[in-house]
C-alpha cells in the first residue's frame, strides 16, 4: 500500500470516529428534544449512524493531495460542508429521522451538523497547530546543528 493511500485511509478512519462520536451525541440531544420522555428507538439506528458517518467521511476525497490555491482550498471546505449536509439530511429523510414537512426538525438537524463540523474542524486545526509547534522545534534543532 502506498504512503498516500495509507495516509488517506488513516484520515478517513479518524474522521469516521470523530463524526460517529459527534453524531451519537447530537442524536441523543435531538431525540431528547423531539421525543421527550422515555422513547423507544429501533435497533436499526445503531447501523444507520455509522453508515451515514462513513459516507460523510468519504467527503475527505473532496480534498485532493494535489496543490491548490488558498481560494480553491476554501471552496473545497465549503463543498465538503454542503456534501455532509446533503448526506445527513438526505439520510435523515430516508431513515425517517426527520418527519416530512417538519422544518424545525430539519433545521435542528442542520444545526447539529454545523456543531459537529465546527467541533471536528477545531480539533483538526488544533492538531495541525501542535504539529506546527513540533515542526518549529525540529527546525530550530536542524538549524542549530547546521551552525546557523
Amino acid at each position: 500500500m502506498s504512503e498516500t493511500v495509507k495516509r488517506r485511509v488513516r484520515e478517513i478512519l479518524l474522521t469516521f470516529c470523530m463524526v460517529t462520536t459527534g453524531s451519537v451525541l447530537v442524536s441523543a440531544a435531538y431525540i431528547k428534544v423531539f421525543w421527550p420522555g422515555d422513547p423507544q428507538i429501533k435497533v436499526g439506528i445503531l447501523w444507520q449512524i455509522p453508515v451515514i458517518s462513513f459516507v460523510c467521511s468519504l467527503g475527505n476525497f473532496l480534498h485532493p493531495y494535489r496543490e491548490v490555491s488558498r481560494r480553491r482550498a476554501m471552496l473545497q471546505k465549503i463543498s465538503h460542508y454542503l456534501y455532509i449536509n446533503v448526506v445527513v439530511l438526505g439520510g435523515g429523510y430516508y431513515f425517517a429521522w426527520i418527519e416530512k414537512g417538519n422544518m424545525l426538525m430539519a433545521m435542528t438537524m442542520a444545526f447539529g451538523i454545523m456543531v459537529v463540523f465546527v467541533v471536528v474542524s477545531a480539533v483538526v486545526w488544533s492538531w495541525h497547530k501542535r504539529e506546527t509547534e513540533h515542526l518549529n522545534r525540529k527546525l530550530q534543532e536542524y538549524q542549530a546543528k547546521k551552525g546557523d
Partner: protein
Amino acid sequence: MKITIQDIAPGEEEEIIVRCRDLDEALLRVIHELKTRRGKFTITDNDKIRQIDADDVYYFEAVDNKVFLCLEKAVFEIKYKLYEIEEEYAGTDFFRASKSVIINLAKVKQFAPDFGGRFEAQMKNGEKLIISRQYVPALKKRLGM
C-alpha cells in the same frame, strides 16, 4: 581512500584539505566540482556577471516558465529548471515546498499552520511561502520527525 570529517566551532570557516600523492583525474574532477558547480549560481546583475553563494539564497520560484533566485532583498532570473536545482542540491538545506518553490531551510524563521493541512514558511526576510500538503511528509522526514 580515508575520509575524515571534523566538527568545527560555529563561525569557523569550513575547509576541505585534500591529502594525496598525485592529483589524478578523478581527484581533479572532484576539486573542480567543489570549486565551481555546487554552491554558486551565476546571475546577470546590471549587465555584470556575478556569482551568488547558494547559502545566501532564500528560495527559488518558478513563474511563467522562468525561474527566479530570491535573496534577502534582491531577485534574479536564473537559467536553471527547478527540478535541476532540486536534484543538484538534494541533501542540502534546499527543500521542495511546492510545485513552484524550493526554499532554503536555513532561511526559514518559523512555520505557521495554514488552511487545508498546509503550512506557511515565514522566511527570515519576512516573506511568506506555502508548503503544499503533498510535500509535508517530506518536510517532516527532512527535519527528523
